[in-house]
C-alpha cells in the first residue's frame, strides 16, 4: 500500500543534506515501528522515495516522501507516532494513502512554491526597494540565463518557468517550475535578478523557504496545480497486513 508523507524541515535542520535526511527517515521508521515494506535481496532496503530533494540551506513546510507499507494504523496515529521520534525542526504534517495506481511523487512534480525573504544582517547587500525592483525584472518578456548542464553550458529562458510571483510584506512569493521537464531553482532566479541589477550576487543574503510542491493535472496550455498531498486520502480505519505480506 502506498503512503504519501508530507513533512517540514525548518531551523537548523536546513544544514542536513538530502542523503542524510533519507538515512534519518530510515531510522525514524524503525524507531516508530512503521511497518514499511523492504526490497528483497541480501541487503534489503526500505521502499521510499522523495518528491524533490531540497537544497542545503533551504527550509520547507512542503516536503514529500512516498513509502510502501505492509499495513498501517490510521493517519492520525501514524503521524503522532512518527512525530514522537522526530528531532526539533522536523515534523510530519500529513500521512495519506494513495491509490494503488498512483505514480511516485518524484515523477509527477511540476511546480513548487517558495517564499524568498531577506536575512537579518544583510541590509547592505540588498538595496532599498529590491522587492519593487523584482517587479520590473519579472515584467521582461524573456529572461535569458546561462545554465550549466553535465556536458555544457546553454542559454535558457527562465521567464516561462516563473508561473506566479507577488511581493508580500514578508518577502517575495514564487511559484516556479519544478520536476524533470522544467526545473527552476529559486537560487538561480535570484542570481539572474542580481545580474539584471548589475550587482554582485550574495547567496547568503536570502532565506528561501519552500511552501508546497505540486503535480499538474491540467494541460500544457492551462496548468492545474494540485498539492501532492491532495492525491491521497486520510486513513480513518487501520489497514492490517495481508497474509501475503507476512514474511
Amino acid at each position: 500500500m502506498k503512503i504519501r508523507i508530507k513533512f517540514s524541515k525548518t531551523g537548523i535542520m536546513k544544514f542536513i543534506g538530502h542523503l542524510d535526511v533519507m538515512r534519518y527517515f530510515q531510522k525514524v521508521n524503525r524507531r516508530a515501528g512503521v511497518d514499511i515494506a523492504y526490497s528483497g535481496g541480501f541487503s534489503p532496503h526500505q521502499i521510499m522515495s522523495f518528491a524533490s530533494p531540497l537544497g542545503l540551506g533551504l527550509t520547507s513546510e512542503g516536503e514529500y516522501l512516498d513509502i510502501e507499507m505492509n499495513g498501517t494504523e490510521d493517519s492520525r496515529t501514524m503521524r503522532d507516532r512518527m512525530n514522537h521520534e522526530m528531532v526539533e525542526g522536523m515534523e510530519i504534517l500529513s500521512y495519506r494513502r494513495l491509490p494503488d495506481t498512483a505514480k511516485p511523487a518524484m515523477s509527477i512534480v511540476a511546480a513548487a512554491d517558495y517564499m524568498v525573504s531577506s536575512k537579518e544582517g544583510y541590509e547592505e547587500i540588498l538595496w532599498d526597494g529590491w522587492k519593487a525592483f523584482f517587479a520590473s525584472f519579472c515584467s521582461q518578456e524573456s529572461i535569458l540565463i546561462w545554465k550549466k548542464t553535465k556536458k555544457c553550458e546553454k542559454q535558457v529562458d527562465i521567464r516561462p518557468m516563473i508561473y506566479e510571483w507577488r511581493v508580500e510584506a514578508s518577502g517575495i512569493f514564487l511559484r516556479l517550475a519544478a520536476g524533470s521537464a522544467d526545473n527552476l531553482k529559486p537560487e538561480l532566479l535570484l542570481e539572474a535578478l542580481f545580474q539584471y541589477a548589475g550587482r554582485e550576487f550574495c547567496p547568503h543574503a536570502f532565506s528561501i523557504h519552500r511552501l508546497e510542491i505540486y503535480a499538474d493535472t491540467g494541460t500544457e496550455k492551462e496548468h492545474s496545480f494540485i498539492p501532492l498531498e491532495e492525491m491521497g486520502e486520510e486513513i480513518l480505519i487501520p489497514v492490517p497486513r495481508t497474509e501475503e505480506d507476512k514474511p
Partner: protein, 622 residues
C-alpha cells in the same frame, strides 16, 4: 529554535555543516545556566570518527544522568572550518549549547591514538585556551585526558591539567563532587588539583618533578606536592552489572564510521599477546551477563533505529556465552532486517555457520590476523594461532563459498629474521593453494583473492615488548621489500595482493608512544609548523616533524633505536596497571626464548591483576 554559534554563511561554505550543529537523535538538551558543571567531552578527530567512539557515548550518558552536570561534545573541526575559525577568531564551541568551550568547567579529551596529539593542540588553540597547562589561569576549564594513550601520558603531560588513568565509570562521580564542593567554597584551581590528586587514578603532571641521567634516560620522577602519590593506580570496573550503559546512544545524521549499534560484550582479553597493549592494560577479563546483553541489544536497536548491531570486544570468541548471544540475535532480529556484524571472531565451524547466515558470502571476505609469518615468530609474540588453524579455517570457508581472504601481519617484531618475513608470503601462498585443492574447478567463482597487509610493529608501554628496539624508516621499507619480493616468487602469486603501511608514520608513532616529557616540545613545535590530522595520510607531513625534532634538539633514534635495559626507569613506571613489571620482564624473557604462555583461562600466569579481586581471575570460584 536552537541558536548556532556560526553564521549560515560559514556553515554553507564548509563541507558537511552537519558536523557543527548538534541536535542529533538522543542528544541531551539542558539549560547550561541551570547546572553546576559544564563538561565538554572531546574526541580530537573529525566528527564522523569521533561519533563512532563507544567510550564517549558511555560517559556522555553517565554524566548526563546527573542533574548538576551538562555533558556536551566537541570534535576536531575539519581543515576548512579550522581555517574559518582562525581567520574570524571565533572560539571553538560545544555542539549542544553552541557556547564556547573555554567557558566550560571541564574539557575532557579522550586520547585513542598517538597520531592525534597535534589535534589536541588544535582543539585547545581554537578554543582559545593556553596550550600549556602551566599558563592557564582560574578562568579556564580544567583540561583532563583519558583513554589508552594515557598509559604513557608523559609526551603530552604539559598540555593537561590532569589525567584519568583507567575506566571512566569508577571515579568521575567523585571528581565532580569534589569540583562542586571546591567551586561552592570559592576554592582555587590549585585547591581542586590537590584534592583531585588524592583520588585514586588521577594524575596531575605538575605535581611531579622529573630528572634525567647523562645518557638521556629517566633518572627520577618524584612528587613535589604532598597531595600526589608516587604511584597512580589504574581504575577499573569490577562488577559490569553495576555500571550504566548507554541505552539511548546518539545517532548522527552524517554516516559515521560506526553506523551501527555497538554492544560491548566484555572488557579485557585472556590471550596475552606480547605486543598488545590493550590485552595487558585492560586486564582482567570481565564479561557482561548474557541476560543484560540481550536486553541492551533489544532496547538500543529500538532507541536508535539502526539496522545493524556489532559486538565489540578484543576477542569475541572468548566470550563464554557467545553462541547463545549470537543465536539469540539471529533469532530475534532475523525478520527485522537487522544485520549482525561480528568482528574479531576466530574462524571456526561456529563462526562460519553464523557468518553464512548473516552476511552475503559472495561479497564478504574472511579475516585472519596471524600477525607473524612463521610459527617461531608467532611463538615469540605469543599469538596462539597456528598455520594449521589458518589452513583448516580457510578450507572450511572455501567449502562454504568464500573466496576472499585477508591476512594481517606485523613487520619489525623482536628477533625477526628474513625467514620470518618470507614466511608471510609462504603462508599466503598456502592459503591460495588450499583453495585450489579444496574447491573443484567447476565450482570455482574465479580466482581466490588473498590480500596481505603488513603494519610495522610499534612497542607500547606496559607490554612485554616495551623494552624492544625499533628500526629506521629505511630498514622498515627494506623489510616490506623482502615480503614483496617473496610474494612475487610464489606459485600462486597471481592470487596474492600485498600492501604495507607508511614507514615514517610508524617511526613517529614509536617516539610518541614511548616518549618522555621532553617530547612535548617537539609536538608543540610540529603543531606550530602546521602539523595537524597526522593520522590522515593526506595531511601527514614528516618533513615538518623532523624539523621540529631538530629544532628542539631531540633525536627520534634515542626513543626508537635503543633496546632499553630491563632496569631502566621508564617514563610510565609511575602508573600501576595491576600487571607487574616482573611479569612483563618474565614474558619478555620467554619471548626471547620463543616460549609461549597460556591464556588466563587455561592457566593463570600470575600477572598481578588478581589483586583487583574479580573477573576471569576468580571465574568458577564462587
Amino acid at each position: 529554535m536552537k541558536k548556532l554559534a556560526l553564521r549560515d554563511e560559514i556553515l554553507l561554505k564548509v563541507e558537511k555543516p552537519a558536523r557543527y550543529i548538534g541536535n542529533e537523535v538522543n542528544s541531551v538538551k539542558k539549560d547550561p545556566r541551570g547546572v553546576d558543571i559544564r563538561f565538554v567531552m572531546c574526541f580530537p578527530d573529525v566528527y564522523e570518527i569521533g561519533m563512532s567512539h563507544l567510550g564517549i557515548q558511555i560517559l556522555y550518558d553517565m554524566f548526563n544522568r546527573r542533574d548538576d552536570v551538562y555533558c556536551e561534545r566537541v570534535y576536531s573541526p575539519w581543515i576548512d572550518m579550522d581555517r574559518v575559525l582562525r581567520e574570524e577568531h571565533i572560539p571553538l564551541f560545544s555542539l549542544e549549547s553552541q557556547l564556547p568551550v573555554k567557558d566550560a568547567d571541564f574539557l575532557g579529551i579522550t586520547i585513542q591514538y598517538e597520531m592525534c596529539y597535534t589535534n589536541i593542540l588544535q582543539i585547545l588553540d581554537l578554543s582559545q585556551i593556553p596550550l600549556n597547562a602551566a599558563d592557564r589561569g582560574e578562568e579556564y576549564p580544567i583540561v583532563i585526558g583519558g583513554g589508552p594513550c594515557t598509559y604513557n601520558p608523559e609526551p603530552i603531560a604539559a598540555f593537561f591539567d590532569m589525567f584519568y588513568i583507567g575506566e571512566g565509570e569508577t571515579r568521575y562521580n567523585d571528581l565532580m563532587d569534589i569540583y562542586k564542593e571546591i567551586k561552592a567554597s570559592g576554592g582555587s584551581r590549585q585547591d581542586f588539583l590537590e584534592r583531585a590528586a588524592e583520588l585514586p587514578g588521577i594524575y596531575v603532571p605538575s605535581f611531579y618533578d622529573v630528572s634525567y641521567c647523562e645518557d638521556g634516560t629517566l633518572k627520577s620522577m618524584m612528587p613535589n606536592n604532598p597531595h600526589a602519590s608516587r604511584q597512580v593506580i589504574k581504575q577499573l570496573v569490577m562488577d559490569m552489572e553495576q555500571v550504566s550503559y548507554p541505552e539511548k546512544p546518539l545517532v548522527p545524521y552524517l554516516k559515521a564510521t560506526q553506523d551501527r549499534v555497538v554492544l560491548e560484550i566484555q572488557r579485557g582479553c585472556i590471550r596475552g599477546c606480547r605486543f598488545c597493549q590493550a590485552g595487558m592494560v585492560y586486564r582482567p577479563v570481565r564479561e557482561r551477563s548474557l541476560e543484560q546483553l540481550e536486553q541492551y541489544a533489544v532496547n538500543i536497536l529500538e532507541n536508535t533505529g539502526h539496522d545493524e548491531i556489532s559486538l565489540s570486544s578484543l576477542s569475541s570468541s572468548d566470550y563464554s556465552r557467545l553462541k547463545e548471544l549470537v543465536y539469540f540475535l539471529i533469532e530475534k532480529f532475523r525478520d527485522k532486517d537487522v544485520n549482525i556484524s561480528l568482528p574479531s571472531l576466530r574462524i571456526d565451524a561456529f563462526s562460519l555457520d553464523v557468518m553464512s547466515r548473516v552476511q552475503d558470502v559472495k561479497k564478504s571476505s574472511l579475516t585472519f590476523a596471524p600477525e607473524a609469518g612463521s610459527q617461531r615468530m608467532r611463538n615469540v609474540i605469543n599469538k596462539g594461532l597456528t598455520e594449521e588453524d589458518i589452513l583448516n579455517g580457510s578450507a572450511e570457508a572455501f567449502r562454504g563459498g568464500w573466496n576472499k581472504v585477508k591476512l594481517y601481519f606485523m613487520l619489525g617484531l623482536p628477533t625477526e629474521t628474513k625467514e620470518d618475513m618470507e614466511g608471510i608470503a609462504d603462508l599466503a601462498n598456502k592459503v591460495a593453494k588450499e583453495y585450489y585443492e579444496t574447491v573443484p574447478k567447476e565450482e570455482r567463482q574465479g580466482r581466490v583473492q588473498v590480500n596481505v597487509s603488513t603494519s610495522f610493529f610499534i612497542p607500547k608501554p606496559f607490554t612485554p615488548f616495551q623494552w624492544a628496539s625499533m628500526f629506521t624508516k629505511e630498514e622498515y621499507l627494506a623489510k616490506a621489500r623482502v615480503v614483496n619480493e617473496a610474494m612475487k616468487n610464489q606459485l600462486n602469486h597471481k592470487s596474492l595482493k600485498y600492501n604495507w603501511h607508511e614507514a615514517d608514520v610508524s617511526v613517529l608513532e614509536g617516539v610518541l608512544a614511548r616518549g618522555d616529557r621532553r617530547v612535548s616540545k617537539v609536538i608543540l613545535d610540529a603543531y606550530r609548523r602546521g602539523c595537524i590530522y597526522d593520522s590522515w595520510s593526506e595531511f601527514f607531513d614528516n618533513g615538518k616533524w623532523m624539523e621540529a625534532f631538530e629544532a628542539q634538539d631531540l633525536d627520534p633514534a634515542f626513543y626508537n633505536l635503543r633496546e632499553r635495559s630491563l632496569d631502566e626507569l621508564l617514563p610510565w613506571d609511575f602508573i600501576d596497571t595491576g600487571v607487574t613489571k616482573d611479569f612483563l620482564k618474565k614474558e619478555w624473557k620467554r619471548a626471547m626464548e620463543g616460549t609461549v604462555s597460556s591464556n588466563c583461562r587455561a592457566q593463570c600466569q600470575g600477572c598481578g591483576v588478581r589483586k583487583f579481586g574479580g573477573g576471569v581471575c576468580f571465574e568458577d570460584q564462587d
